[in-house]
């Protein structure tokens, strides 16, 4: 932790960056996002097991962008997010420094190539618990799965915390906010909730880097990340593509290839 603090102090004092987006101590001793601009307050930075939020969500927020060049305290999922945002032309090379805390100290990653290399080394796929969670879903019959998700979505308030917490949900105008025509019903009733949640998951298919922040953000504990994880698995099966591994990559669902067998069209 001391090393992270002194790195932040050094980066801010030298002017290499204007803000360090990291974690500070919040309610209940948990971590929360901290925007450090004053090197004299670097002692407020923390890094521990409660630092789960994917801070990349702030990289495109106008208020944060105005603070200047950031160094971002990044865990593995955040590194993948940076690459995916780059692949979608949302981040330019050199726009930020990624600070990766690890057992060997703080690694400073200044280029996409360095992040790609680190992501490849860190990438161990899903954990045993995560695989089991996914298999539980896959083991359900269609009817069971439909009932499961209808029950989950029945609690949805349409507060859009899932959307707001997702670093890859960066549209300045979301489809649910378009009303000429109204694609998605606004009310948080069964149909509106189903359409919203399916749309959110589908829009992230082949783009989601599995940080889990959608599920963590949901105030009514809908395990939204499971939908995205399944779609990521489908994208990998179908296109041999995993999001967030390269800074230059085609998008799995919006790239036209003349040699696409399109064998799903019967």
């Amino acid at each position: 932790m001391e090393e992270l603090r002194s790195k932040a102090r050094e980066l801010l004092a030298s002017g290499a960056v204007q803000v360090v987006i990291g974690y500070g101590r919040g309610s209940g001793g948990h971590a929360r996002a901290l925007f450090l601009r004053d090197p004299g307050r670097a002692h407020e930075l923390v890094y521990d097991g409660s630092c789960l939020q994917n801070l990349c969500v702030y990289l495109l927020k106008p208020e944060v962008r105005r603070l200047g060049k950031p160094a971002l305290v990044a865990h593995a999922a955040a590194l993948r997010t940076i690459l995916q945002l780059a692949a979608e032309n949302q981040l330019a090379e050199g726009a930020l420094l990624a600070l990766l805390p690890g057992p060997g100290g703080i690694e400073t990653l200044a280029t996409f190539a360095a992040i790609e290399e680190r992501v490849a080394a860190l990438d161990h796929g899903l954990g045993a618990g995560e695989k089991e969670e996914l298999q539980r879903q896959e083991a359900m019959t269609l009817e069971q799965r439909r009932d499961f998700w209808q029950e989950q979505f029945s609690r949805c308030l349409k507060c859009y915390a899932c959307r707001a917490a997702c670093p890859l949900c960066y549209c300045t105008r979301c489809t649910v906010e378009c009303n000429q025509p109204q694609w998605i019903p606004v009310p948080a009733h069964d149909l509106g909730n189903l359409e919203w949640n399916v749309l959110r998951a589908m829009h992230l298919a082949g783009r989601c880097v599995d940080c889990g922040d959608c599920g963590r953000a949901c105030p009514v504990a809908i395990p939204l990340h499971l939908l995205n994880r399944k779609l990521a698995a489908v994208a990998e099966e179908s296109f041999a593509f995993r999001a967030g591994r390269a800074a230059k990559a085609d998008n799995a669902l919006s790239t036209f290839k003349p040699d696409d067998p399109e064998d799903f069209i019967q």
């Binding site: 919040g26 309610s27 209940g28 948990h30 929360r32 996002a33 925007f35 939020q53 969500v57 702030y58 927020k61 106008p62 208020e63 944060v64 609690r155 308030l157 349409k158 507060c159 859009y160 915390a161 959307r163 707001a164 917490a165 906010e177 019903p185 606004v186 009310p187 948080a188 009733h189 509106g192 922040d213 963590r216 953000a217 105030p219 009514v220 504990a221």
Partner: protein
Amino acid sequence: MTAMENPNRLIDRQGLARLFARWRGEGRRILAPRRLADAGPVDFAEVTSPDEVSFDHVQTVQSAKSAVFPRVEELFSFRRRDNSVELRERDLEALPLTVVFGLRPCDAAAFSALGAILNWDAPDRLFSARRQRLSLVTVACTRSDEHCFCTSLGGGPGSTAGSDLLLTDLGQGGFLVETLTAGGSGLLAGAGSLPPAGAAADKAARLARVDKKFDLQRIGPALAARFDDEAFWAGQSLRCLGCGACAYVCPTCACFDIQDEGGRRLRCWDSCGFALFTLHTSGHNPRPRQSQRWRQRLMHKFSYMDERQGTLGCVGCGRCSRACPVDMSLLEHLQAVAEAKP
């Protein structure tokens, strides 16, 4: 005080079960805190017996406001006929008789603030009809957490304001019952004769400790003085993601959106935290920045409602802070407002 019989009664779990059965027999639906799954969140749901009710949580995720202000509500329906429109009003008599059981004293107090907004300039018939058909059986707080600040706003863990009955868990499955309204007496009518609470029923000893966290008198003037301090609001709201979680779990947030769907006019929850909330048809947005929307949230609750409705738009339940995905602590931000040098 002269010797006067303690009007309070005692009830046990069997007595509660009899009451639940009686209320259901009278055609009332009972909404109470229920744990979603093992170690899952606790939220209001329709229940049939006290065995389903959670008593050991600090606070539910959502407030009980949906009993009177559902997240989607049909206001009326309409049908176009040639050159005229046929309107059909809601049948207010068909609205459900409801008992909310196990809400907290802060939640019970919140209904008057909610009513103050919804009935402000024009009476809200649907809200008022639902409110009239609603009874509040509150359970006092024997636990609190760091987000609770009811006492800073004039409430308290054993406060009776707004409740028809207030129960205090005395341990070993027994509850002290305070009857606060005629409606509350009516609710107890089916309980048979409840034993009077003796001197041993010490409510105060059971209540959670909730310390005063700031001086409320300072908040209004401090907010007014800070209105144009953009850096202050930007600093507070930098990590805010602009979702609606805080507003939707809040017991007093009353903003709504109107949608027409298949000949039904629907009122849907909305939030001043969303950029779209104030976006004009012209494209102009009077509150284009998240800092302005955050300021609006605080100003509305602690300044505008105080001026216009003579009540605060906050009861210190702490739900917004618990639900916030990025730990925007309302209490902490209010303390900063109260303490900041003008």
